[in-house]
Structure formats: C-alpha cells, structure tokens
Subunit: 327 residues, 4 copies
C-alpha cells in the first residue's frame, strides 16, 4: 500500500465536548502530513449520502473552544445493512478518500470495525463520549467537561438544599456505566452515589442517609446514574422512598442534556488535540482499525475488537471514598 493521500473525518453517536478540538487537530495534522482532508457530515449517514466537504486549515479556526461538533452527528439505520455500507464505500472511492478517522463511542467503533473488515480501508478511532465507558483508555473526550458541568450544577442545587435543609436526588447520564456518577458524586460531596455496577436498593439508601441525618447534617445530595437498575432511576427511587418513609421528602432533578454540551475543559481540549494528531500519525504509520487511548498519560492504540470486547471497570476505591467523606 502506498502513501495515504486523502483522509475522511466524521463524528458519530452522541456529541461530546472536545470533538471539535479533535477535528481541528486531525485536519491540521493531516495538512502537515501533506494529506487532503474531507469532512463527512452527520456521521455514517453522511457517508452513505455523500454529504462531504473539503477542509483546510481555516475550516477549523476558532472551534477549539466550542461544544458540539461542526461535522454534526446522526444515527444511521442504513449503515447497519451491507447495502448501506457498500454505498458508503463507493462514495469514499469516488471522493478519493483512502482512510478514515472516526470520533465517537462504542457504537461508532463497532460500525467502523465491520465497515473496515468489509471494505479494507484503514480506520483510526478517537474515543469521544461523556460516559467514559470505553475500555482501552483512561479518559474519553468529553468526560472531564461533563464532570465539571455536573459538579457546577450540583453546587447550585446544594445552595437550595442547604437553605431548605432538604435531600436532593440528582440524576446524571450513564446508561450502563457509573463513571460520571461516581466522580461527580465525590467531587460534589454527595452523601451517596448509585451506579449501574453496584446494587443499592432504596431501603439501604434510606438507612445509609438516616445515619447521616442523625449526625445533624442539614442537607444531602444523592447522585443517581440514569442506568441505576435496581430502583429504576431517580424518580422511581424517590417515590419508593417517600411511600415507605413518609417523613422523607426528597426532591428530584434530572440534569439531562446540559451534560453533553458546553465549552470543553482544558483537559479535554489537550487530550483531543493530542489524539487528533496521533490519529494521523497512526494512519501514516500503517495502523488500522485501532482506537486511540490515553493510558497513564501516554497516547496508546488498541484494536477495535479488544476495545469493544472488554468492559471498563469502576475504581472500587473511589466508591469506598464516599463513605468516609460524607460523615
């Protein structure tokens, strides 16, 4: 295989802060390597429908600080079919695109893995999701920003919790993984944290909080991951607890989509910038079908297969921390 000449770049799945910083880095690193760059709009959907535009150094000016993704994102049912992927590949060939950088989460990389095996095109993936649920990297792009967004929101809620001596259940994103809940819970001084990985039913929670209230705490914050299974999320949890213990009167706040947006944190911008440059280096180095990771502060590579096969584990020490810190 000869030198790569033209790289396509796309973002797919839920958007995450820092994706634009990664796009900027990919585009500029490609240009520095004498490659052309084509932006593929709306993820795999745009690849199938040939919604592309050439990018140059100025296309990515003044975007490093912006949330969202200038390439937009979308779901594509068609890309799940061989016909859809065939159409996508035909478009790449027509545009002269000989390599891809895809930015997204596990759904994105699974699509990329299948596409690559069928169509023999080198692909490098950059992990971008606020959930931090990808094996093979310590941090995904967007996670640090989302943590700060959650913590700032809880700081505001705590003002009211404190003023009224109330308990608040705050539901944060995380369907299958409790990373966001766990770290935001510690950082916001939560009294308890409920995550999908560990069962804590409403009775256990009540008893745990009661202990706190006996020690003259005037307000409490409980962080609940939306994927918390045993109680069914913050609203159900609140209803169950109110029914069984009528003296308890928790308020519920679902943080919702504010967690995906906002200007990326310094950490996410630096990680995104490093990964963007490394993605182009990896392609030019002959790498294919690998996801970039940040492991122990170094940029690493892991095959899509392995990244998708394993589940990243919560740090059990962190969960233990809450018990000590919320006394």
């Amino acid at each position: 295989m000869g030198r790569l000449k033209k790289v396509g770049i796309l973002t797919s799945g839920g958007d995450a802060p820092g994706m634009n910083a990664a796009i900027r880095a990919v585009v500029r690193a490609a240009i520095c390597s004498n490659m052309e760059v084509v932006g593929i709009m709306q993820g795999f959907h745009g690849m199938i429908n040939n919604i592309v535009e050439p990018m140059n150094s100025r296309s990515v000016s003044n975007i490093i600080h912006k949330g969202g993704t200038i390439l937009k994102s979308a779901r594509s049912q068609e890309f799940r079919t061989p016909e859809g992927r065939k159409q996508a590949f035909d478009n790449l060939v027509e545009n002269g695109i000989d390599s891809l950088v895809v930015i997204g989460g596990d759904g994105t990389f699974n699509g990329a893995r299948i596409f690559s095996s069928e169509c023999n095109i080198p692909i490098v993936g950059i992990p971008g999701t606020i959930d931090n649920d990808l094996y093979g990297t310590d941090y995904t792009i967007g996670y640090d920003t989302a943590l700060n967004t959650v913590v700032e929101a809880v700081d505001k809620i705590r003002d009211t919790a404190h003023a009224h001596s109330r308990i608040f259940f705050v539901e944060v994103m995380g369907r299958d993984a409790g990373f966001l809940a766990l770290r935001s819970g510690i950082a916001s001084g939560a009294e308890a944290i409920l995550v999908p990985e560990i069962d804590m039913d409403y009775k256990q929670l009540y008893e745990y909080l009661e202990k706190g209230h006996n020690k003259d705490k005037s307000s409490s914050i409980v962080i609940v991951a939306e994927g918390e299974k045993i109680n069914g999320g913050a609203i159900m949890l609140s209803e169950k607890i109110k029914k069984e213990y009528p003296s308890f009167d928790p308020r519920v706040t679902i943080l919702g989509h504010i967690q995906r947006g906002g200007s990326p944190s310094a950490f996410d911008r630096v990680t995104a910038s490093r990964m963007g440059v490394s993605a182009i280096e990896a392609l030019n180095d002959g790498q294919r079908n690998v996801m970039l990771g940040l492991v122990n502060k170094e940029i690493t590579l892991i095959p899509f297969n392995q990244a998708l096969k394993h589940k990243k584990q919560l740090n059990p020490g962190l969960l233990e921390l809450t018990r000590v810190l919320s006394i």
Copy 2:
C-alpha cells in the same frame, strides 16, 4: 414611637441568589444606624420556635457571592394560625426585637402583612424570588441570576441540538408567571416561548415551528414555562406533538432546581445591596408594611396590600420580538 433599637431579619419562601447580599446589607446598614440585629433562622418557622442569633458585621463577611441564604428558609403551617403568630410575636418581644426585615416573595409578604396588622410591628419587605412576579418592582432579587443560569444551560443544550439537528423543549421555572421564560427565551435565541399568560396549543406550536424548519433551520429550542397551562408542561407537550406529528421528535429537558442556586450576578448583588440599605432607612424613616422596589433604577416603596393586589404584566413587545428574531 421612639427610635428603633433592634431589627430582626429573616428569609422565607423559595431561596433566590442574592438573598445573602441583601442580608449583608441589612446587617451592616443597621449597625451603621446604631441598631442591633438579630438573625431569625428558617423564616417564620424560626420566629415561632425562637431560633435566633445575634448578628454583627463579621457575621456577614464573605457571603455576598454565595447562593442560598445563610438564614435558611422553611415553610410554616403554624404561622397561618393566630396562635402561631401570637407565639412568634411573644418571641420577638422577649428578644427585644422592635422591627423586621423580611426577604421573600408574595407568600412571605402576605404573611408579613397579616402579622403586622395583628401585632403592630413595623415590617419592610425585600423582594427576593427568581420568578420576578411581584408587582411594584421592575426586578426581584435572583431573577437576573436565574436568567443567566437558564441561558447558560440552553447554550449547552443548543450544542447538542445543533450537532444532531434536533428540537429541544426546555422547561423553566414559573408556575404563574412567564417572566423567566420570556427573557431567557429571547436571550437564548429560542424559536418559540410558551408562557402561562398566553395560550399556544401544541398544534399552533407545530405549525409555527414547521415554518421555521422549512426555512432550513437545522435545530430549534422552545422554552416552556412550567406553568404553561394549555398543554400541561413540556413533557405533555412533547407527547402530544409526537403523537399527532410522528415525524417530529423533540427532546425534553426540565432545568429544575439549578435555576434557584448559584453565585448571584452583579446586577442582583447591586440591587440586593441597595435594597438592604434602603430597608433600614425606611424603617428608621417610620415606614411600615411596605415592600421595596426597583422602579426605573430608583429604590421605591409600595404597601404590601398594593403589591399583593396587582399582577405584574409581561411586556407584550418582548413576546413579539421572538417572531422577528427566530426567522
């Protein structure tokens, strides 16, 4: 009546950013007027239960920037009874408190009005609520901060709306009044704003938005006041619209309690500081049973009776603005 010697201060009702700045100003202005100051904790509840603490200049150091209220707030059913109010007054007498500054919303001032008529104690009210729904003042303390909180949240949501070309319905506080919805809607560039004061059903909204979508808008934000009556709030609105127009797929976010908290804006801090000083001046000037207002940049007084009798009107020109600006 002779010179006032000891003023009690309390916060009541929902907390609002800037209440602490007002408390600080009341305390320091009172000290400058050679009055003693007593903090009454938890609003009328603390008045009945005699939960008080003397305050000095240092008690209010380093609080001007804090959300919530250091005096805490609470509901009091007892204060709705003559017996409760009698107990409250006895406590005031026992503590030597001869005047009151109360910070809160219409419920607070209604309680103050009744209490004052029964117990013959001069009371001055400072309007503190994020809803801005008090007649007799252009702005209530907390409203400007809440506006900024909503606008920052919607800016984040817009990142995702834009990335995914989606419509978001964002529900903001405001049970009876659309002030927060109206101004935050304009400031966040919303395509439509639903307020309690004006009926717009889901069909009208759909048609209005469809026009926008025809003009190649890729994303839309609709601000919905929680007190919007005709559709029943953002979630009901979304469900009705999805059922009738299945191609529409709006997302819903309820901003919730983050709107009450946070460090107060410069505007709220200045207004709170001015009102706090004016409250003490008004008391020493022989005023009683009046609410302070900020009207045309000047501090004004309005009797509780009048403030409570009238309903503040939305500026119809502002609502019209959205139609022009969202094209």
Copy 3:
C-alpha cells in the same frame, strides 16, 4: 424620500459582548421589513475599502451567545478625512446601500454624525461599549457582561486575599468613566472604589482602609478604575502607598482585556435584541442620526448631537453605599 431598501451594518470601536446579538437582530428585523442587509466589515475602515458581504437570516445563526463581533472592528484614520468619507459614501452608493446601523461608542457616533451631515444618509446608532459611558441610555450593550466578568474575577482574587489576609488593588477598565468600577466594586464587596469622577488620593485611601483593618478585617479588595487620575492607576497607587506606609503590602492585578470578551449575559442579549429590532423600525420610521437608548426599560431615541454633548453622571448614592457596606 422613498422606502429604504438596503441597510448596511457595521461595528466600530472597542468590541463589546452582545454586539453579535445586536447584529443578529438588525439583520433579521431588516429581512422581516423586506430590506436587504449588507455587512460592512471592520467598521469605517471597511466602508472606505469596500469590504462588504450580503447577509441573510442564516448569516447570523448561532451567534447570539458569542462575544466579539462577526463584522470585526478596526480604527480608521482615513475616515477622519473628508476624502475618506467621500470614498466611503461612493462605496455605499455603488452597493445600493441607502441606510446604516452603526454599533459602537462615542467615537463611532461622532464619526457617524459627521458622515451623515456630509452625505445625507440616515443612520441609527446602537450603543455598544463595556464602559456604559454614553449619555441617553441607562445601559450600553456589553456593560452588564463586563460587570459580571469583573465580579467573577474579583471573587477568585478574594479567595487568595482571604487565604493570605492581604489587600488587593484590582484595576478595571474605564478611562473616563467609573461606571464599571463603581458597580463591580459594590457587587464584589470591595472596601473602596476609586473612579475618575471623584478624587481620593493614596493617603485618604490608606486612612480609610486602616479603619477597616482596625475592625479585624482580614482581607480587602480595592477596585481602581484605570482612568483614576489623582494617583495614576493601580500600580502607581500601590507604589505610593507602600513607600509612605511600609507596613502595607498591597498586591496589584490589572484585569485587562478579559473584560471585553466572553459570552454576553442574558441582560445584554435581550437589550441587544430589542435595540437591533428597534434600529430597523426607527429607520423605516424616518428617523436619522439618532442613537437608541434603554431608558427606564423602554427603547428611546436621542440625536447623536445630544448624546455626544452631555456626560452621563455616576449615581452618587451608589458610591455612598460602599462606605456602609464595607464596615
């Protein structure tokens, strides 16, 4: 004179947050009035050099929350000459531009006033400057945002002041006017505020602060407007005070250009939106050579002549407030 058909819009002078919100409103209101809109880049410089681009509704999508100005700003010596202005007018004629909206401060309006008298073209001005130093409007666009920026910065500095029991002199913008210093000083709980309008030499300041320190204050913030004349700004002030009173060890921070930038506050966005729409209404209403104002919450008009002739006064009551609040 017939109906206006094509309006040019420019920003000039120092940029201010909210200018983009005003541009958006002008463009969309013009389109709603069936006018064409042309963006003139880099203020009067671009008018002379014919750097223009047609604008439509999409040109101003997604800019309401952005600081700076998409039309850019620049100084123009040439526009001070009759030849420069003649060239500018020729370009307008060539482009079919029959009216102008100019966004800026007093320099901008003075240029507009002269230009209009020479060239007979209707011009409406929108006051955009963080200094709030324009007669004829209660608030200029950008002022509220800059206030919040200063207050947030001082909140951070206070953390350190408090931790180390130190005095900080914080210099804020304002060459001729103390509006920003005055309100930010009150809002940040400053012990003293030095403004160009009122003389307070370093000895007076020292004595004033000494009183505070005797009352066991552990830290102090002094806000100094850059145009404070009698001491020569924060650095000179600090040096004079240290020389005369060696036990004093104040730190100096010059906030600088961060004050001009940032996402506009809700207040500035709403004001900018209202003024932008009103600018087009005024033009279509036959108004010319007037500046828009926000006076007692209503949009008003004032001839450039009058706006430039008078000097807006500080509210003396606000300055007095600091003495009460900093005890």
Copy 4:
C-alpha cells in the same frame, strides 16, 4: 511507636483551589480512624504562634467547592530558624499533636523535611500548587483548576483578538516551570508558547508568528510563562518586538492572581479527596516524611528528599504539538 491519636493539619505557601477539599478529606478520614484533628492556622506561622482550633466533621461541611483555604496560609521567616521550629514543636507537644499533614508546594515540604528531622514527628505532605512543578506526582492539586481559569480567560481575550485582528501576549503564572503555560497554550489554541525551560527569543517568535500571518490568520494568542527568562516576561517581550518590528502591535495581558482562585474543578476535588484520605492512611501505616502523589491514576508515596531533589520535566511532545496545531 503507639497508635497516632491527634493529627495537626495546615496549608502553607501560595493557596491553590482544592486545598479545602483536601482539608475536608483529611479531617473526615482522621475522624473515621478515631483520631482527633487540630487545624493549625496560617501554616508554619500559626504552628509557632500556637494558633490552632479543634476540628470536627462539621468544621469542613460545605467547603469542598470553595477556593482558597479555610486554614489560611502565610509566610514564616521564624520557621527558618531552629528557635522557631523548637517553639513550633513545643506547641505541638503541648496540644498533644503527634502527627502532621501539610498541604503546599516545595517550600512547604522543605520546611517539613527539616522540621521532621529535628523533631521526630511523622509528617505526610499533600501537593497543592497551581504550578504542577513537583516531582513525584503527575498532577498537583489546583493545577487543573488553574488551567481551566487560564483557558476561559484566553477564550475571552480571543473574542477581542479576533474582532480586531490583533496579537495578544498573555502572561500566565509559573516562575520556574512551564506546565501551566504549556497545557493552557495547547488548550486555548495558542500560536506560540514561551516557557522557562526552553529559550525562544523575540526574533524567533516574530519569525514564527510572521509565518502564521502570511497564512491569513487574522488573530494570534501567545502564552508567556512569567518565568520565561530570555526576554524577561510578556511586557518586555512586547516592547522588544515592537521596537524591532514597528508594524507589529501586540497587546499584553497579565492574568495575575485570578489564576490562584476559584471553585476547584471536578478533577482537583477528586484528587484532593483521594489524597486527603490517603494521607491519614499513610500516617496510620507508619509512613513519615513522604509526599503523596498521583501517578498513573494511583496514589503513591515519595520521600520529601526525593521529591525535592528532582525537577519534573515538561513533556516535549506537547510543545511540539503547538507547531502542528497552530497552522
């Protein structure tokens, strides 16, 4: 040696965001270990002057989100003398304090090292400084927050830089180390970064920027560490460059003390919480005279001696990144 019974805690040196989160964790972890905790105010100065107060679980309520340090910090010349340290130790003995946790930077740990060698008391250090210049830990507490503060400030400055097509030199903290400059430079999309570790004179900088300007960049940000030696800081740099290349007109902003303050980021709060708990574990584990570190996401220990002997190196790959990303 028997079980430790009473731990003293202090903060020393420049304050850093997250110190309060660390204090909270130390206090609560100590209580969980059945130890008493004494807060020593104003660092070593308070140890010598016996300014102490007992702390319990409530002493550290609601401080996790606050900048600065509730224990205050101060310099102490006396602690540099054997007599001062003797006095300090006598006070510890008198108070029954048998172990210490000190939070600060290299000056703090050097003092602790000497004190411990003379007085035989176990000490554990927590690295808290925005400079991140401590060997033995990947991140110091406060560094991540300061990075975000700088990046947000530069985002604001960029608005103006962009509006006026200007070059800004932004000076950030870092007397001996360029960590803050380097990462904030990458994260804010700076065109160049000057650090103490690498020489780049004003001519090299000019040539480097000129290249950028030839490529139609309209604005530029240069981050300059205050300890940049060869040009003498941002102001000198600007003057030299203006003198030699009069067409260049860079503006200078010194960010100053805002970098030390502010509510700590999620990352700093989590790190501080982990380190605080680990400090008590280490003491109870018989460790002494060690600094805690966060290395590859795990909490580690390093003797004060070693931490002080080595100099942490900048990541050269990051500096190279800027050349690629600023095209």
